[in-house]
Amino acid sequence: MIVAERKPIEKILEMVAPYKKILVAGCYGCVTVCLAGGEKEVGILASQIRMARSKEDNPIEVLEQTVERQCDAEYLEKFRDNIAQVEAVVSLACGIGIQYLAEKYPKTPVFPGVNTLFLGANIDVGKWEERCMACGDCVLDKTGGICPIARCSKHLLNGPCGGSQYGKCEVSKDVPCGWQLIYDRLKELGQLDKLKEIIPPKNWLRAKGPRTLVREDLTLER
């Protein structure tokens, strides 16, 4: 999933300072699962904003609404009535949802209420870790199902650098070395031979600018 974290309240208050009536827009997708921007977090942020502003003697009206997914035009439609009434929106969806919401309502300023961090997994209570960088040409078959792009600090494709020691990455003793994990896993699978392959320089697939996916099998149906 996409992992995000709530922006500090001070930053959000700065963004909404000029307004008297806003909408806090949540999403039931990834940000609900990672507890950054679901219905509950929408409620918390809305009351934080109201309280801060009434303390300053500068009250603000805050509407709250959460939809299934902000990265989907169909669900964004549901915001129409509320957005018609407000001066600005703070979206707690990931960066994709925030942008798509802004795109659909071009006359209303939309602000980010979260920092979108990475593509990761919830590995323990309150702990998320990056697992994929969406490189577009997956190599997990060669690396025992562990991603060298996302989990090696240098995105190395041909094995651990000289800084790998005691299972840790040279960057920090708190970070496991991705290549040690790959080595251990391949050893367990009896596939250490795979490490002998020299993987050539990667095509980072940026030649066409922002990446798009067009599936003709689907577009032709329309």
Binding site: L156, N158, G162, Q165, Q180, K196, P200
Partner: protein
Amino acid sequence: MKGENKLNNLKAGSNLEKVLASGHFACTGEIGPPKSADFHHIDMYAEGMKGKVDAVNFTDNQTAIVRLASWGAALRLLYKHGMEPTLQVVCRDRNRLAIQSDLLAAYAHGIRNVLCLSGDHQAFGNHPGCKGVYDVDSIQLISILRKLRDEGRFECGEECKVAPKFFIGCAVNPFADPFEFRVIRMEKKIRAGADFVQTQCILDMERFEKFMDLVRKEGLHERVYICAGLMPVKSPRMARYMQTGVPGMLVSEEFCQRLEKAENPKEEAVNITIDYIKRCQKIEGVHGVHIMAVAWEEIVPTIVEKAGLLPRPTF
């Protein structure tokens, strides 16, 4: 590596290559460029090393700290001092476009040795918020240099009319983990095109000897020149720090204690380095030493002389 006359079949024709190909025990030095826009220290250390080493490495923004460019320092050595540089290139700061372009210029200027490295992560340096490039890794970089030299083609496959023909070096760290993988990785580097190896500095001789056993078992010492990296460490405190605080380094108890027990640790640092040079000369498959006197460059000539490595061969 044995049996044939390698001198008639040089890949780049650098002094370092000739020394190694002719079967001499190579001896190289290293200078870390300064964090400022002047050549003062480089000139000073270079003069000291003149005639004492076969080539001088210039580090490339070592430990991810901005320093005078390694190519700039290398050119200074070449033009001002008439000595041979080894250009270090890390993958952290430049993509394949910039690296290949720099290498064309370096070759056109007369640089012949290149050492390919991943580079310390930017988190270590003085701009930890920067974006690390790592477009290619060190093994891919080696293969790019080889492709340019042997096929006259850029990474993309396009022809390079006057292609740079470098003597291609790589680093090997026998002290990092996973230990068993280090030999596999070294073999990959050789297969990718490495001609010579400079090891991470050896502060644990036993582990290095163990590593060389594995290297010989795989026959790698016959496919590449191996130069053992050595570092004179002038204070016991520094040695202890490296023992625990530097990722990818191993420092033996013996090494630390020799410095700690010494009345004059600086003198002892020189003695240890000389001892290690002599031990390296006895290890089958070690073809030379690379002396990295980090922040103590002026000591290199003394070490070389006392170790009996003079005079250096000339061609």
